[in-house]
């Protein structure tokens, strides 16, 4: 199938090659603060659960809180000899930050033609072409800085014995997570070398230098994890069963109960409850034979949904299409057990059980017969921050479950055979972050909407991760992020007004500020690990315009609300003081007066500022006018020759159908799917009618005669309507 470079775990390639010439160069200027570090400057103590680690590693799984916790806590009990409770430490090598980021050698030992070679670090020579990684604001530059800064966690060895497990994908993944959690810095780069080795060992497909598919990778990892965890759990279970019951520890009991729980669910194999609990949903496909009208049902589990795309649609509508009726005819006839033989049939898929984490794979890669190869679809597909599923079965539990978008895997590139993956992930309390190889950068919420597929640059959302949430949570979050939003929006307004430099030229300025404050130790071969934590408290750099949550210094100019509040509280405190001590009151009054004075001063200042701005504006006018006049003249000339400035998007054939209409994840066939009996269908129908009954029994307001009458008439007949809701 598809294969693209899976540059999934960052850094490994460049690390391997450049490790040799480790600490030769020392004239590298001290790295400046990245936006991320600025953001983390006033973060509190490092948390034990790893939710505040921002390593150069694009891994949506790590930020799936539930998944992370479970991975960290599994297996519940290490072999008996390990003292219970203390986690085995991961064998992590911390490598010196790479002071020569240039020597990148590809798989064949060939030098990458795109990479400029001469390792003249530091300031580019005049006349020489500027290397991409030396230009501030290029991703290359930022990645290099990340490598320079370190720490670089390298996972070359496994600590499998401590887990009592064979070395496998799961242990590899767990090591990564453990390393991150145990690291005493918040930022850095992690090289998942060993993980990739294990993964390649187990998956032949990935044993080459071809570019791989992120979605496939995700599926394989999850499946491997399930398989690994499963076998271990069973082994542990057996092991424990042999031992006496009183030897059971609490943690093991929970593990066993988890196993028991999944058995009760009856959905899948035992022991892997937590993976399934998080990612697994259940699909029902109903097939109705058009000859005998018999409907048969089949349930299938899924870890993600692969949905076909059409131009100018939303994820919502793509999901609806996924559940739309499908005719099985001609070559694709259905074997009906009732009539015995291939018959034409109607088939539709609906979601019977919604997963906690809903992974949506947008099928941007389509096989075209004309070229007999995969093509990338650049359809504009919009995705909302929140989502509910319309295509649930009538008996589905909590059909109105609210999901929120928390991670987007983005594919950059023009075709299906190569490209680059990055991800944008919403962290628990640090907002949205962009993970691009070694680079981690905070971005604002609107940034997430840049990957609908129609923007230049060929970056499109490829896998969307939605997680279960509640309405109240969403509202609370929205209220909290409001101020941030205001700041960003006003910042944008600033940019639009031209008060700002473009993003690119901020670096030089901030470097001037940051350089003297940086301790020189970052140039040492083995730097202290606590970069982020011990970074001197820099005052804000004058050109800090990259979205960063408001720091006290960086109060946005807009929120006038705040000011009124502070004034008010001042007044209140004043009143209190009056009641207590007169002396204090005096002092306070004085302070208040001062405050007022300051405020007035500020106001006056801002007025004068505005006046000044107007003056300078006027000064600029003439210049601008002349320029525009010139341009106008030019434009007029051009106008005669040119027409139609607005060509339509002529992207790959719109509306064409995909090769395989539906795929239910890679689990299909592998995982057990099962037939539900007719009785369960009956049961579900009962459930449906029961739910219909509820609106009719609803009480009505005793007063207000007219609305009362209307209301009375509202309250039934939904059931009928409902059956036609999703034709």
């Amino acid at each position: 199938m598809a294969s693209f470079l899976n540059k999934w775990k960052p850094g490994s390639a460049s690390l391997n090659a450049s490790a040799k010439d480790g600490s030769k160069k020392k004239e590298e200027p001290p790295p400046e603060m990245t936006p991320l570090e600025k953001m983390l400057q006033n973060a509190g103590a490092i948390r034990p659960d790893g939710s505040d680690k921002f390593f150069g590693m694009e891994n949506a799984l790590f930020y799936t809180t539930a998944f992370r916790e479970q991975v960290l806590n599994f297996p519940p009990l290490s072999p008996p000899d390990t003292p219970n409770g203390s986690r085995p430490r991961v064998n992590v090598q911390i490598r010196a930050p790479n002071t020569n980021g240039n020597a990148q050698v590809d798989a064949n030992g060939k030098k990458n033609p795109n990479e400029k070679k001469p390792p003249t670090a530091g300031i580019p020579q005049p006349g020489q072409p500027v290397k991409p990684e030396d230009k501030p604001d290029t991703p290359e530059y930022k990645k290099k800085q990340a490598m320079l800064k370190g720490p670089i966690l390298e996972l070359a060895q496994e600590s499998t014995t401590a887990y009592g497990m064979e070395e496998c994908t799961f242990t590899g993944l767990r090591d990564i997570f453990m390393a991150l959690v145990e690291s005493n810095t918040r930022t850095g780069v992690l090289s998942p070398q060993r993980f990739l080795e294990i993964f390649k060992r187990d998956n032949e497909m990935f044993r080459n230098s071809m570019h791989q598919d992120a979605h496939e990778f995700y599926g394989l990892v999850l499946n491997d994890v399930i398989a690994n965890v499963e076998s271990t759990a069973q082994r542990l279970l057996k092991f424990e069963a042999e031992r006496s019951v009183d030897g059971m520890t609490d943690s093991l009991r929970t593990a066993l109960s988890a196993v028991a729980k999944t058995r009760a669910n009856g959905t899948n194999s035992p022991g892997t409850g937590w993976v399934h609990d998080i990612f697994e949903g259940l699909l029902t496909s109903e097939t109705r034979c058009l000859t005998c009208e018999t409907a048969s049902q089949r349930d299938e589990t899924f870890l993600d949904l692969s949905i076909d795309l059409e131009e100018h649609t939303s994820v919502t509508s793509c999901l609806q299409k996924f559940s739309a009726e499908e005719m099985l005819c001609e070559r694709n006839k259905f074997h009906c057990d009732h009539c015995g033989g291939l018959q034409e049939a109607e088939k539709r898929m609906k979601v019977k059980r919604l997963p906690k984490v809903l992974a949506l794979h947008l099928k941007r890669f389509k096989y075209t017969e004309d070229y007999s190869r995969l093509q990338k679809l650049f359809h504009r597909v919009v995705y909302p921050y929140q989502l509910r599923m319309f295509n649930t079965t009538p008996d589905a539990e909590d059909p109105d479950r609210l999901y929120e978008l928390y991670a987007v895997v983005i594919h950059i590139g023009g075709n299906a055979y190569h490209g680059h993956y990055v991800s944008v992930i919403k962290t628990e309390d640090r907002g949205w972050l962009l993970f691009d190889d070694e680079m981690v950068e905070p971005v604002d919420k609107h940034y997430v909407r840049n990957f609908f597929g129609d923007k230049p640059g060929m970056a499109c959302a490829y896998v969307l991760f939605y997680q279960e949430t509640t309405f109240e949570k969403v509202r609370a979050e929205q209220e909290a992020e409001g101020l941030e939003e205001v700041r960003i929006v006003s910042e944008k307004a600033d940019v639009a007004q031209g008060n700002e430099h473009a993003n690119g030229n901020t670096n030089g300025l901030s470097r001037q500020v940051t350089a003297p404050n940086r301790p020189a130790d970052s140039q040492d071969a083995l730097p202290s690990l606590d970069h982020a934590a011990t970074v001197p408290n820099l005052t804000r750099s004058p050109s800090n315009r990259i979205p960063v949550p408001p720091t006290p210094v960086d109060v946005p100019p807009v929120p006038s609300l705040l000011r009124s509040n502070t004034v008010k509280s001042l007044k209140e405190t004043k009143r209190e003081a009056k009641a207590q001590e007169k002396a204090q009151e005096k002092a306070r009054k004085q302070a208040e007066k001062e405050e007022w004075k300051n405020k007035r001063k500020q106001r006056e200042e801002s007025i004068s500022l505005i006046r000044e701005a107007r003056k300078t504006e006027e000064a600029e006018l003439k210049k601008a006018l002349e320029e525009s006049k010139k341009m106008a003249a030019e434009d007029k000339e051009k106008q005669n020759e040119e027409h139609d400035s607005v060509p339509a998007l002529n992207r790959a054939n719109r509306g064409s159908k995909s090769m395989s209409r539906k795929s239910f994840g890679f689990l299909r066939g592998k995982r057990d799917s099962m037939e539900t009996s007719d009785s369960s269908w009956n049961g579900s129908q009962n459930g449906e009618s029961a739910s219909h009954a509820s609106p009719t029994t609803q009480t009505k307001p005793p007063e207000k005669s007219e609305p009362f009458r209307l209301r009375k008439s509202f309250s039934f007949g939904i059931g009928r309507k409902k059956s036609t809701k999703f034709p």
């Binding site: 490994s12 390639a13 590809d106 290029t138 991703p139 990739l196 080795e197 044993r207 230098s209 059409e310 649609t313 939303s314 739309a324 909302p384 921050y385 319309f390 983005i410 680059h420 990055v422 962009l434 190889d437 950068e441 971005v443 840049n450 230049p456 640059g457 060929m458 309405f471 929205q478 209220e479 939003e485 960003i488 006003s490 944008k492 940019v495 639009a496 007004q497 031209g498 979205p547 807009v558 006038s560 609300l561 000011r563 509040n565 509280s569 007025i607 505005i610 601008a624 341009m631 400035s645 607005v646 339509a648 998007l649 609106p695 609803q698 207000k704 609305p707 509202f714 007949g717 309507k721």
Partner: protein, 611 residues
């Protein structure tokens, strides 16, 4: 040991150039408008709508001095200026026959209200003149205005009772005050260029009075066109701004005359321009974002007002400006000294109340802003005045719709989207229903009188961008509305109030909330004439109505869905002869109504092609 290949490069400059060549990126040359007549049509119950013409308004290239730094990195985090699609306003100087639905407004008294007599009788007469069209955003069809439209709606004027806001009277309405600056001779850095048609005065002299003007904003350009002209592709005036994008505009229907057209425009920089089209003069308001720096997502004249208009800023505040007043830096603490002004409690729950940072009743009305209401911290996407000029429906990016009594500056109800944000809002011509379109691909029909959700309309395949009622096909019971969306589709919908009696469209409020909200349903607030009572109750009562589960709300299918353009659509309006749509790239399409709408075609109503 395996060594991965090096990280791939980002698309290079060459790739970008290729993209430009392929038309994915806007070229740098400015072009003329193009009128074409592609063939297309669609069939609805009442007949066949035929595509009459397609007017492509040229999207201006970026200003030369503002040529964007071409960043081949698709991950660049530079903030982009806010943009919207093409928005159009239609305006006719002569009053026309109002749509047939219009008389009902007086008869049915949309929302029951106690009408306080108020001293400024002359303003009442203005109200009567006011046309309460304006369904759909960025739209104002004025051909329903005029003294002969018997809209005996007499809502008090906004700001009534504050003598400071009473506008000066003009003895001669034809001698209105003009803005300060001459636009053609302007050397403001805000305005890049003003191009006036060479035959402007001839065109103005030749045109018939009942012709339709159109005003349209396309990114940094603003065009004034004459749709009744034989050469309608030629603009009368085209204004190019330097960097600010015009996001919304509105024409004042009270002050319009042969010699005077008041237009306000809101920009992505937060700034506002008051432009008088006939004299080509303008005034800048909120200059350099003195009052509010965030982009103006929608701007409208307050119904009945000559000078006051309302702008929705993206930080979640609604600001009332006076077109003739100077800006002043707004300091909320000044409000504190106002005995009259409502102060904002520090720990107010934003959802339950609007915080009035400055009341319209404030005694300090020498300068702008006239009033500021902070709704939330989320971006406001659109708002719409109710036809009876009493209420305001405001929708936000966080998926809330607020019904506000803007005369009393009071929040009456807060409704929530199924999921995602709301993008557009409009009132039915009789003021009974409110439509919202959103990022859940749905249009919701709300019935604010009873705080209920009547139905969710499912038919779009992407986000809805604009909704509008068709007043010519609405009567007492039946309603027709249209919507357009990012899916390039035009959908038409029918619903009738008898649906509710038949029970096929049903709705209910959860019992719990019903009990809670009895006291505050908007109808009751106003029937209970005194405000003080409500104030007392307000603490306990939630006016925040929760999301209805899907199983409780009827789903309404469209009577038609039609791919109406190649690009995502951004605007829809209905005129007597046609349906008009516009898209993001500047195509304005006019779909003529069935030539003889009385002859019903036998053919069936088009069913939605895909659901």
């Amino acid at each position: 040991m395996f060594v991965l290949p090096p990280p791939p490069r980002y698309p290079t400059q060459a790739a970008y150039n290729a993209a430009v060549a392929a038309g994915h990126v806007a070229p740098m040359i400015e072009t003329n408008n193009i009128l074409s007549t592609p063939e297309d049509q669609f069939l609805v119950g009442e007949g066949t709508y035929v595509l009459k013409e397609d007017l492509l308004l040229a999207t201006p290239p970026p200003h030369p001095s503002e040529a964007p730094v071409i960043n081949p990195n698709p991950l660049a985090t530079n903030p982009q200026p806010a943009t919207v699609g093409t928005k159009v306003s239609l305006l006719s100087l002569e009053s026309r026959r109002p749509p047939p639905a219009f008389y009902r407004l007086a008869a049915t008294a949309a929302l029951p209200g106690s009408i306080a007599e108020h001293p400024n009788e002359w303003r009442l007469s203005n109200d009567a003149k006011l046309s309460s069209d304006g369904e759909g955003r960025g739209t104002s069809v004025s051909d329903v205005g005029g003294p002969n439209s018997a809209t005996a709606v007499s809502a008090p004027a906004f700001g009534d009772g504050n003598a400071l806001l009473a506008p000066e009277r003009f003895k001669d309405p034809n001698k209105r005050r003009k803005p300060k600056n001459n636009m053609t001779k302007s050397n403001s850095s805000f305005i890049s260029r003003v191009i006036i048609n060479e035959a402007f005065s001839k065109k103005m002299a030749d045109r018939s009075n009942d012709g339709v003007f159109a005003f349209a904003n396309i990114n940094r350009a603003f065009q004034w066109l004459d749709f009744s002209s034989p050469t309608k592709a030629d603009y009368l005036t085209k204004i190019l701004f330097t960097k600010a994008h015009c996001l919304s505009h509105d024409v004042n229907l009270i002050t319009k005359s042969l010699s005077h057209l008041d237009i306000i425009m809101g920009f992505s920089t937060g700034e506002i321009i008051w432009w008088e089209a006939m004299s080509q003069r303008y005034t800048r308001l909120n200059k350099n974002g003195v009052i509010n720096k965030t982009p103006v997502s929608q701007i409208r004249w307050i119904p009945g007002a000559e000078n006051l208009f309302l702008a929705a800023h993206m930080d979640g505040s609604l600001v009332v400006y006076d077109k003739e007043k100077e800006d002043a830096i707004f300091n909320p603490e000044e409000e504190e000294t106002q005995p009259n002004g409502e102060s904002t409690p520090p720990n107010i729950k934003p959802s339950d109340k609007i915080s009035i940072l400055k009341s319209v009743h404030s005694k300090n009305q020498k300068t702008n802003p006239v009033a500021i209401w902070k709704l939330s911290n989320q971006r406001i996407n659109a708002f719409n005045f109710s036809p009876d000029n009493r209420h305001l429906a405001v929708v936000s990016e966080d998926g809330t719709m607020r019904i506000i009594d803007y005369l009393k500056e009071e929040l009456l109800g807060l409704y929530n989207a199924y999921y995602g944000g709301f993008t557009c809002v409009c009132w039915s011509p009789d003021g009974k229903y409110v439509l919202t379109g959103g990022q859940d691909d749905l249009i919701s029909i709300w019935y604010p009188q009873e705080t209920t959700l009547i139905a969710r309309c499912q038919g779009h395949q992407s986000w809805v961008t604009s909704v509008a009622f068709d007043p010519w096909r609405c009567d007492e019971k039946n309603y027709r509305f249209g919507s357009v969306g990012e899916d390039c589709r035009l959908c038409l919908w029918d619903f009738n109030s008898s649906h509710r009696q038949r029970g096929s469209v049903s709705s209910r409020v959860p019992t719990l909330h019903r009990a809670e909200t009895q006291g505050t349903s908007p109808g009751r607030i106003r029937s209970g004439s005194t405000i003080s009572v409500i104030d007392g109750d307000e603490e306990k009562i939630s006016i925040n109505y929760p999301v209805e589960p899907r199983s409780n709300v009827a789903i309404l299918p469209p009577v038609l869905t039609k791919i109406a353009d190649k690009d995502p659509l951004s605007w829809i309006t209905f005129t007597e002869q046609s349906i008009m749509t516009s898209c993001k790239t500047g195509h304005i399409r006019t779909w003529s109504r069935p030539s003889d709408s009385l002859t019903q075609t036998n053919s069936e109503t088009n069913t939605p092609d895909v659901m």
